[in-house]
């Protein structure tokens, strides 16, 4: 997988100017935040659930190889097939092989971040296989030829008018349809796809080692259809999706829905263990699980950032993040957005591909406060910032390094610091407008491009502090 260096700064600047997007983001993230707060407030022992979820994930990741082998064994016992892929290309070619050897002409897909990650649709279409996204949001994105902008609601950047227009253009519907009508159109269209598809592709929310069961949560029923109607079911999961015991599901389902959509339970949860049994009347005849590494074992190898693998993809951190709420999902350049994207993307793609992302945060910690598995995202961000600055290809330029040295030197020497602040009090005069610094010259202009800089006061704080103290 070749990825160009992501351009967070450029993309986020254009998102900030997009008024329609700003409105959509505000609406969606406010709604998700409100329902999450209500749902987590109503349940007893929320904090204990989070602690328990974190402990289970930590334990699992520390014994990951053992649990994966148990999972594999149990899925095989249930009649399923397990495949291992070290990267995206390999996962795509495994799935292509399954499709080819079964003469698959069309596939239906339910929402899965892992399949987005490996660009599976592209690979299947390249081999002449029709792929249809069946989650309504993903379907909209697919016909618009765009990328998801929110982990949970992939099309939140589009208004209902946008979608009505899109359907009218691409699906020949009447113009200006309301959401309910649009949903019905999608139901009809996608029903035909489900009934004619040879293969269903899904993601995995949790895989239970103890029983060989994969768990898929959803509200629409498209994942159930994708995993029930076609002859073959292929599920793709990252190595970190595993949990040890069946009973652990109680903890994870309790935290997932509340964090994600504020529901106590999603409309459907499917627990799938292998293909249909001998006398079953329906369900897929073949079940394949593809377990993919794709950079995750590298995350695992760094103990300081290992907890990034605890993520259960609920999206709660996106909705509370002051940065995501302004710049939206597309600015993050890849499929994972928000605070979790800022830590996962640089680790999966390589720090030199996304050096801006660890800095796309004010480190306010709102993400850490809502994370259902208590990932310390700000701490991981700081560690990644350190890696960016230590990487030959992404470290700061000569000018910045000199400036930081000077800054450090003056911070360590009081007299020099005082001298600098007196000097800047004088030096700022030509740029003062209405008592503010509104546009500074290089190298400070990047700061004042988006906000004013407060002027340097005549009397520094420590002198005023001294005066106040003395006057008491």
């Amino acid at each position: 997988m070749k990825t160009k260096r992501l351009r967070f700064e450029r993309d986020s600047a254009s998102a900030l100017k997009n008024q329609k997007l700003q409105g959509a983001l505000r609406n969606a993230t406010d709604r998700f935040r409100t329902v999450r707060e209500k749902a987590t407030g109503e349940i007893k022992g929320w904090e204990n659930l989070r602690i328990k979820a974190r402990e289970i994930k930590k334990h699992t990741v520390e014994h990951l190889d053992q649990y994966l082998e148990i999972l594999e064994e149990n899925i095989m016992k249930a009649g399923g097939t397990v495949h291992w892929a070290k990267d995206g290309n390999e996962a795509c070619s495994i799935i292509l092989d399954i499709a080819r050897s079964n003469n698959v002409r069309s596939a239906v897909k339910s929402k899965s971040m892992a399949t987005e990650e490996i660009e599976l649709n592209h690979a299947l279409e390249g081999a002449g296989i029709k792929v249809v996204e069946t989650d309504l949001g993903e379907y909209i994105i697919q016909i618009a030829k765009e990328r998801p902008s929110h982990i949970l609601a992939p099309a939140i950047h589009k208004t209902k008018e946008d979608i009505a227009k899109l359907f009218a253009e691409k699906l020949n519907t009447e113009p200006g349809l309301e959401p309910e009508k649009l949903t019905n159109v999608a139901r009809e269209k996608l029903r035909e796809e489900f009934l004619s598809a040879d293969m269903g592709v899904s993601g995995v929310n949790f895989a239970v080692a103890e029983t060989g069961t994969i768990v898929i949560v959803e509200n629409e029923g498209n994942a159930r259809l994708s995993t029930t109607v076609p002859r073959i079911h292929v599920a793709l999961m990252g190595i970190e999706k595993i949990i040890p015991r069946f009973e652990d599901l109680s903890t994870f389902l309790s935290v997932l829905f509340r964090s994600a959509s504020g529901q106590k339970m999603s409309a459907y949860v499917s627990f799938i263990t292998g293909p249909r049994r001998k006398n079953d009347l329906d369900g897929p005849e073949e079940f394949h699980l593809v377990i993919i590494d794709n950079g995750r074992s590298e995350i695992l190898a760094h103990e300081e950032t290992r907890e990034s693998l605890h993520c259960i993809r609920c999206g709660a951190c996106l909705n509370v993040c002051p940065v995501y709420r302004k710049v939206g999902g597309h600015s993050y350049g890849w499929i994972y957005s928000g605070p979790i994207g800022a830590i996962i993307t640089p680790q999966l793609l390589g720090i030199d591909k996304a050096p801006d992302l660890p800095f796309a945060s004010s480190l306010c910690g709102a993400c850490k406060d809502v994370c259902p598995v208590k990932i310390d995202i700000p701490r991981v961000l700081l560690e990644l910032r350190r890696r960016v600055k230590n990487n030959k290809r992404t470290r700061a330029g000569f000018g910045e390094r000199v400036a930081v040295r000077l800054w450090r030197f003056s911070m360590e020497h009081r007299k020099i610091y005082s001298l600098f602040s007196s000097l800047s009090y004088i030096a700022q005069k030509p740029w003062l407008q209405e008592g503010r610094l509104k546009s500074l010259p290089l190298p400070f202009s990047r700061w004042t491009r988006h906000r004013d800089f407060p002027p340097v006061p005549k009397k520094p704080f420590r002198e005023r502090w001294k005066e106040i103290r003395d006057s008491k």
């Binding site: 014994h63 629409e220 029923g221 409309a267 329906d282």
Partner: protein, 227 residues
């Protein structure tokens, strides 16, 4: 092979933090013995039986919040009556039904009324079905969830493809919460290829977060409870 490579990378990555890595038997499944578990199953069941009406009421409330509808009947006759009324009201032409003990007499009753059942093994037949009738194997009071376990007599598409889903259930299958549910499923039912939690009708909020029911799965869910 990639299997070995992935596992090797994981092991290498975890080296250095091996201090916490106990043997899997020790750290994993600290399972109690069977007799102890059977004892716990019996205790839990009797505890739940004592709370029966509280559980039924909570379940009925919660399912309503999830846009489903639960009806508590007085017995078999009323179950049949409720379903036949719904069939008349909705101009139903084709049905699909599970083959379970609880549903046997309902099945015969509906056959007597001249109704026919589609074969769940046929996709094209199922696509024409208006109402699917199943029996819930468990239910969760706190969340208003029904739990369906699929097997040869209980095909999964009956609760999925038709626009209306009716689940019939006995009242003694209701548990309070997820913990109890997973415990009972694991220790009192046979593992099968698929288990499904259903909480209300199919729903989406993908267009400007407008809630719309019935996007892919059933548009309506009725749960008919035997007392």
């Amino acid at each position: 092979m990639s299997r070995e490579e992935v596992l090797r990378r994981i092991k290498t990555g975890l080296r250095g933090s091996q201090t916490n890595r106990e043997s899997k038997e020790k750290s994993l499944f600290l399972s109690a013995n069977d007799r102890e578990i059977q004892g716990r199953v019996i205790r839990l069941r009797s505890e739940l039986a004592e709370k029966k009406w509280g559980l039924i009421n909570r379940f009925v409330d919660e399912i309503a919040k999830a846009s489903g509808r639960a009806v508590v009947t007085k017995g078999e006759d009323e179950v049949g009556e409720f379903i036949i009324n719904l069939i008349d009201e909705r101009n139903v032409k084709s049905l699909a039904i599970w083959r379970t003990d609880l549903l046997t007499s309902l099945r015969e009753f509906l056959l007597d009324k001249g109704l026919r059942f589609a074969s769940p093994g046929s996709k094209s037949d199922m696509a024409e079905v208006n109402i699917g009738i199943t029996e819930a194997n468990f239910a969760i009071a706190e969340t208003g969830t029904i739990v369906l376990i699929s097997n040869e007599n209980q095909p999964r598409s009956v609760s999925l493809i038709p626009p209306i889903h009716i689940a019939v259930m006995k009242s003694d299958i209701i548990v309070e919460n997820l913990d109890q549910l997973f415990f009972l499923v694991q220790n009192s039912s046979e593992p099968t290829s698929c288990m499904t939690f259903i909480t209300g009708p199919s729903r989406t909020a993908d267009i400007e977060l407008n809630l719309t029911l019935g996007v892919h799965g059933p548009k309506e869910l009725f749960v008919v409870i035997h007392p």
